[in-house]
Symmetry: D2
Subunit: 134 residues, 4 copies
């Protein structure tokens, strides 16, 4: 497999409590790592408003567990694509360990107002940054 | 929304540490609950071999977060469909709280040998139970 | 070991993702279960105000891991003692599985105002219930 | 407060799913971070045998939550003292954020054989490293 084009990358060390009795990283911990990469990518678009987790709601998540991921070796969390709708943002993720892609993720978030809990248009400044990043 | 037909149901109480700063149950905790329902359903097919978590690997997971889920009220985890392949098992899940469906999930597991880490055919006894349950 | 006197009891099923690569329930999951028992106990003092998690801050926690706890068998979470100070509440916990105590916990919470983040006296109604329960 | 002397330090970024509805990092996530620092410290004593999580069992954990810890700013996990018994190892931890100590931890682990699940003497090579580090 070849690495997808890179919008954002973050390296983390798997934690022992993220393993399960099968001896590998549990699927639920992987869902947590994907949140880390999404929030890290959005926060990296600094200078814009609305890059905090409080401005976004996750509406769908798809995870393909391609290979096992293990404790003991760092992993790279990558965002490889982002596509912007009116109020939605869809991101593709990859997780790599030891030169192999172990996870593929796809998530759609909606930009929303935390008080009214209603979706709202992604501000133009952020939209431009997202489109430039792709 | 109407509840799907029922293969398995389990009621759990959301835990406070499963909330996040947005005041609702975090998306990662939901991924954990779906594991609970999958493993509970498979274990409920007692009398068969190979109904332990050690016999199955998760290969893909899709979660639609339809509404927010909250701390303070029980939720019902439901398995509403299961389809059996040669070595794969695909399950549909629903999470309900306060009369509303808040989550829809779909997961594909592969029956595998934990030692060799290779997939293997779902045994006929279990296959029959799964087909009877649908 | 003998079970301590009982103020509150709740039975839960260990979850597979709460195990770790040593094949038992991870120590961090146990910390989560103790939160479940504390919050369940306080909520059980219904009729009083201030029995929500938002009214309490954890200030110290001590956990003795007496034996391993495993996936596959229910556990009983017990609160066996509670002592009330002016604004603090100290609780003793036990976790039992298969007739054996596997965990002993002790936690001190402070009753506080979530807005000002300052401690405040435990209301008399709740104080009476706590003292009656011991 | 003054930082304790330093045996090991690791900086991590709090994760959004580690917050709870009170808007701060949940107490259970803190227990997880302390595991990260303990395992990181022991692993850092490279060159010795028995520095894997599989060689150690946690027997007691004490956590003082001194201040709230928040999402959005890195935290430093510190090991500030380690004392060695025959088969036991007691470590003191600190968590710092924004120039303030937010957590104090103390944990005792026992060196053990993962197969027999029996404690065994800490090997001399590791004992020397631990004593030199203090």
């Amino acid at each position: 497999m070849q690495k997808g084009s890179l919008l954002f990358s973050q390296t983390i060390s798997p934690r022992f409590y993220e393993t399960d009795a099968l001896g590998h990283i549990n699927n639920v911990s992987i869902a947590g790592w994907l949140e880390v990469s999404r929030i890290g990518f959005i926060a990296s678009l600094g200078g814009s408003d609305d890059v905090s987790p409080n401005d976004w709601a996750l509406v769908s998540l798809q995870i393909d567990y391609l290979k096992e991921t293990f404790f003991g070796t760092d992993v790279e969390l990558r965002i490889t694509d982002a596509s912007v709708g009116n109020s939605s943002l869809t991101m593709l993720s990859e997780i790599w360990q030891n030169g192999q892609q172990t996870v593929r993720g796809k998530a759609t978030l909606v930009h929303f107002d935390a008080t009214s809990k209603r979706s709202k248009r992604i501000p133009d400044s952020l939209r431009k940054q997202l489109q430039a990043s792709c």
